[in-house]
Symmetry: C2
Amino acid sequence: MILTVTLNTALDITYRVRNLTPHASHRVTEVTERPGGKGLNVARVLAALGHEATVTGFAGGTTGRALRERLAHTTGVVDALVPVEGTTRRTVAVVDATGDTTQLNEPGPAIAPAEWSAFQEVYEDLLGSASAVALCGSLPQGVPVGAYAGLVRAARAAHVPVLLDTSGEPLRRGVAARPDLVKPNTEELAELTGSHEPSRATRDVRRRGAHTVVASLGPEGLLAHTAEGRWRAAPPRRVRGNPTGAGDSAVAGLLSGLVERLPWPERLARAVALSTATVLAPVAGEFDRAVYEELVGRVRVTGEADAA
Amino acid sequence: MILTVTLNTALDITYRVRNLTPHASHRVTEVTERPGGKGLNVARVLAALGHEATVTGFAGGTTGRALRERLAHTTGVVDALVPVEGTTRRTVAVVDATGDTTQLNEPGPAIAPAEWSAFQEVYEDLLGSASAVALCGSLPQGVPVGAYAGLVRAARAAHVPVLLDTSGEPLRRGVAARPDLVKPNTEELAELTGSHEPSRATRDVRRRGAHTVVASLGPEGLLAHTAEGRWRAAPPRRVRGNPTGAGDSAVAGLLSGLVERLPWPERLARAVALSTATVLAPVAGEFDRAVYEELVGRVRVTGEADAA
């Protein structure tokens, strides 16, 4: 199975209203809820691609229970979340008639030292049956800033390929622990390296320790800097839509491609097609399978493999 | 005990944010949750006044469970809610630095005919040990518009004094079933009678069937039209604050005064003082006990008892 780690899981709630007006009262016409946090989104896409996915991280309180109940109804995703005393956060996305979203994000729970230790044990056990692992998203309070560095080292010790998708200081420290793959966006890349030039920045991230860097350039696709060569992969056309979850779909494309040992150009084409199909899906964070299948053969991949 | 009925219970969530800007992302700095819906608010104030309160109505889904867990920790309030298949609604109040509130109200669950029947049985059982009952708030989908009229008749048949606090057609039909007391605000009064003159309108509501009418005039206090006489009760000074729950506190004042057989001027003074202390409380819907105790002797009650 493929393991995804989400230390700061969330119950993602979407409200539809006619028009959001500050200091007014609004009737919500439609409510949707789904388990959220980057690693959970990645797992859902992996499952849709036919991979077995297991999710771990933390869940607690009534919100955590609601999240786990919904997860139990998600085919192909196994729940290995670790219970905590605190309450899992909610995120509320208020979508109005313009199609634009107003986002309200609750703070996550504080994690106790014993809970962090319990998680690490569960994680090491799960690595035993994982073909790859993705470490996704921000760290909740109480988890040390070097957490991902430790989890990267544990995966490497267990010979499990590890992908890291986070930002800020946890990313900086995680990269130094030599993960197989990092997937920063342009902002995270610039924050980490100080360079706004993606090609230079990805090279720098490799020097800092990442074996492979796949930078997400938003609507322009992906830029990959690997030990085997460098590629750019771009969608066949610019699309408009909701980018929520597009990065998580790209991670699922990269991970599944890794496990299936696809050549880099195919992995990147899959990641770009999934990401684009997510932007175009009517529900935030879902991907449109027909769009994905139509796009995957049409992603433009340029670049070259290094001479062996 | 005093029974309160809330057919459309809610989990009331309050988010504090710096500044609510449509189409932006916001970090919520503080989250509070409490069991809501008018009858639950009334019960909490009754309990704070030293009365035993029992709440009934509907609760379901993960939100209903969260509500009931919080209710279990509310001293003096007994949970007699009827479980339903649907999910109890949430209300989200987003308070920003201006102190103003943006309200998002989820739709309530639809109630199945069997659930409505189950409720009526529970209600009739509870009437057997009730000294008074309050019927509070809007009707959820699936409950017949004449629901309150039926519940009023059942209370009268059981010789339990019944207070009705609702609006629109459920109020119109409920009044015709001859409740002991209705507590409309000026808007509900005008909608029911077509008159914007409170004194004339309250007289009309009595003609329509209510034994007593106590109209809430917002910051100007209460106007009571009873079989024993007519009174006006006003707070000693105009106050500014959050009026959420002020009407529910007034209902608790009236109900407790009824059960304690206080003379009308004292009942009204209590209701106005509780209501004002709720407007002045830092947390929406709570009341400030010190303010209540200071105010209760200073409420100006004018009017006179009718000659016997």
